[in-house]
Symmetry: C2
Subunit: 452 residues, 2 copies
């Protein structure tokens, strides 16, 4: 069963007339994307048809052999897998079956040090993931885990336990993999990190965790079919893009994804990168400074009813909401009947926890709609691989379309380069000496306004 | 050692002249807050002087007796403790020593069901926390855990294992505690959830986890002294409030708290509730509709350099940043030297992971400052109880002052009531039948724009 996407509550914040005025523009956009795709410029669109034989073979070969899977990756090399693991295995650490997943998407030294202390290298499989092959954080973690595995499991043990996902030809990690004779998997050309969850970046560790990778791709293919129309009102990716664009033009600069299920919360974190990094741009396609970009925010129901709902309901009308819900939870339990004389708790007894949860979800949606907040309601009848594959593909295409409407390139990320180079300067990487001096000249404080 | 707060990089986004123009206003505000406090209207200010004897006795009595501590609470009854546990024990589940903490701040039925299946009731201490004593989510969880403890540990075992934190006199939970003869701790009158971390709400479970609660209060007292001046430029709480207010007036509607340490990340989630629920308001103090409220966002370094930095650097200038850093991490490890011929990795060898992490933090700060983004830099020389206590008190006072500048009441949350009542209607709570009909009349969809 596929996901349901209901844009009904985006109206009346945006009029159907305003939406329809984009119909011609979207037909042109559709033709443009078709040409670009035919020329190989949108390879993420072709991922549903990929051959997963190699990575499934690898997963079969390694099944049951390791207690732990450590993934070394950051940003697009981590967020998709984290979302997959939460949605399709479990978001709750106490319920996780082996292999246990540890994603090192930060290099907080305490995180890395304590994890090494906690794991047995002989029981640990590692997958290092970096498209470029030279991401500083990932390569530093790789060097540490390489030494740790070799020391704890021997040189042959290291080779058995280290799987490499990187560019098929370029980059330092590719050369290291050859030198160390490691098993490798290729990130397809032209697929950027935030669009890579359905490449071996996400699929290899997913397969190692027992997730149905073909189901994911079948879901993505189904959504590709559901978003193949050039007609705005028949295409949920285009319609979502136009509605968000109208929101942007009208001053709704924040896009809240509110997940009503622990399993769906990390999907919102995946979206947070996709939306921010794709649409936050200084220059438009003509090189003019535009400085656009909505800010994505992830939120969890019912938890955030007690943290953010006050702002969402009473604060400024500067947000668009996407609410994720599930049809039925895989587990439930009754609320015991007790204290009939205490009206403030007696009504709870006899309901199940799921009934309470779903009532709160529905009531919160209604309260936001009543306030006139624009809201898209997405329902997962069941949280399975097909539904999650659909979700990924829908939002990837919506993001590309939203970038087109903003007139920017949604596939690059030029703004992260400067920080990297300044850090290289501090670390003494050859060729970046001038960056160190530049950094030291940047005033990062003013004594007059400092306390402590 | 106390925290350092450096507002230097908020200039030149805001001119010192504009800041100084608020000096008189803040003196008046200071006098007003002083009067309100003297009249008992700001009881959170008096928390540093509280007697912690009772809760420390309880913690001593129970020390070493339980493998697990489950906290049933949501919003302000959960976020402070989660932040304390991450900052002062560990943010990493693999490094957690007993008692292991489980905070049920969501009622996702799968979360509750799987947790019950994973824990041994005889080995589990439970602390239920709700000020009002009738929070639906918390009371539903309470009824479930009450039954589970009684079934697994007997009636006497249940009484031993259930600690109640609620209002000293009012509410259903107080009456239940009396009827069931449970140990109780009182939330002081007038301290709302988001200001309650330094009451038994946060301090009792903290003490049970071995956290230095007196150190927290000493830190809060130190910050109370550091924020006691009526002079704007001598008071970091007032200065922060004015700078954020200038940001709000100038269209910077988003407040990003970017934590550069896993230990500090949940402090940003605590802040997210404090800032959103306090300042997101429809009416000002005169009852006029104003619909104000900045949107807080939490962010983690270096992770989000690969997710949000592109937007922060190149996107619209609609954000204010607060960067949290640590002076030194409690653990570190060297990056091995390897592959001298591969320039893209060779420069890493010989550095420690902490050096890489701190270089990235500094470079990111510099890149944002170079772009003209307003930024407050907060440094924790060591992440200890004193520093965390300082941090809480600073931001609580800053939030109250920011509310005063916006002309709203920062201590209430009228907007969350409607959703609650609609949910009561759905659940058949007596007295709320009309709410059910109301909910069903709210259009939460439009068939023409629905896909699936």
């Amino acid at each position: 069963m596929g996901i349901t996407i209901d844009f009904g509550c985006m109206i009346p914040a945006f009029s159907l007339q305003a939406v329809n005025s984009y119909a011609g523009k979207l037909r042109a956009l559709h033709a443009r994307l078709g040409e670009r795709r035919a020329a190989g410029g949108l390879p993420f669109c072709d991922l549903p048809a990929q051959d997963t034989g190699g990575l499934k073979d690898c997963a079969r070969r390694l099944a049951g052999r390791f207690a732990n899977l450590v993934v070394l990756g950051i940003g697009g090399s981590a967020l998709g897998l984290i979302a997959l693991n939460s949605a399709l295995r479990t978001p709750h650490r106490w319920a996780e079956k082996p292999p246990r997943l540890y994603v090192l998407d930060n290099i907080d030294p305490e995180r890395v040090r304590t994890l090494l202390d906690a794991l047995d290298p002989r029981q640990t499989l590692v997958n290092v993931i970096t498209k470029s092959g030279d991401t500083a954080e990932t390569m530093a973690s790789f060097l540490i885990f390489r030494e740790w595995l070799a020391a704890g499991a021997g040189e042959a043990g290291y080779r058995e336990r280290m799987l490499v996902t990187t560019d098929r030809a370029k980059g330092a990690l590719r050369r290291i993999a050859e030198e160390d004779r490691l098993a490798t998997f290729a990130v397809p050309d032209g697929v950027g990190g935030r669009f890579s969850v359905l490449t071996p970046v996400g699929l290899l560790p997913a397969a190692l965790l027992g997730i149905d990778v073909d189901g994911l791709l079948a879901g993505a293919a189904a959504m590709a079919a559901r978003t193949s129309s050039p007609e705005l009102l028949a295409n949920p990716a285009y319609l979502g893009a136009v509605l968000h664009h109208l929101g942007w033009l009208g001053g709704r600069r924040i896009s809240v994804m509110l997940a009503y299920a622990d399993r769906l919360y990390d999907l919102a974190d995946w979206y947070r990168q996709l939306w921010a990094e794709s649409l936050g741009k200084r220059l438009d396609l003509d090189g003019a400074e535009v400085r656009v970009g909505p800010t994505p925010v992830r939120s969890l129901g019912v938890t955030d009813q007690h943290s953010q709902l006050q702002l969402y309901k009473e604060g400024p009308d500067d947000k668009i909401y996407t609410v994720l819900r599930v049809g039925a939870f895989p587990a439930d339990l009754p609320i015991p009947r007790a204290f009939p004389e205490l009206e403030a708790v007696a009504y709870l007894g006899g309901h199940t926890l799921q009934e309470l949860f779903q009532a709160e979800a529905r009531a919160t949606e209604a309260a936001l709609v009543k306030e006139g907040r624009p809201l898209t309601s997405v329902s997962f009848p069941v949280v399975d691989a097909g539904a999650v594959g659909e979700f990924f593909f829908w939002l990837e295409l919506q993001t590309v379309a939203a970038g087109e409407l903003l007139g920017i390139n949604p596939l690059d990320q030029p703004g992260v380069e400067e920080g990297k180079q300044l850090a290289y300067g501090l670390l003494g990487r050859p060729g970046y000496q001038a960056r160190r001096a530049e950094l030291e000249a940047i005033r990062t404080g003013d004594g007059r306004l400092s306390f402590g």
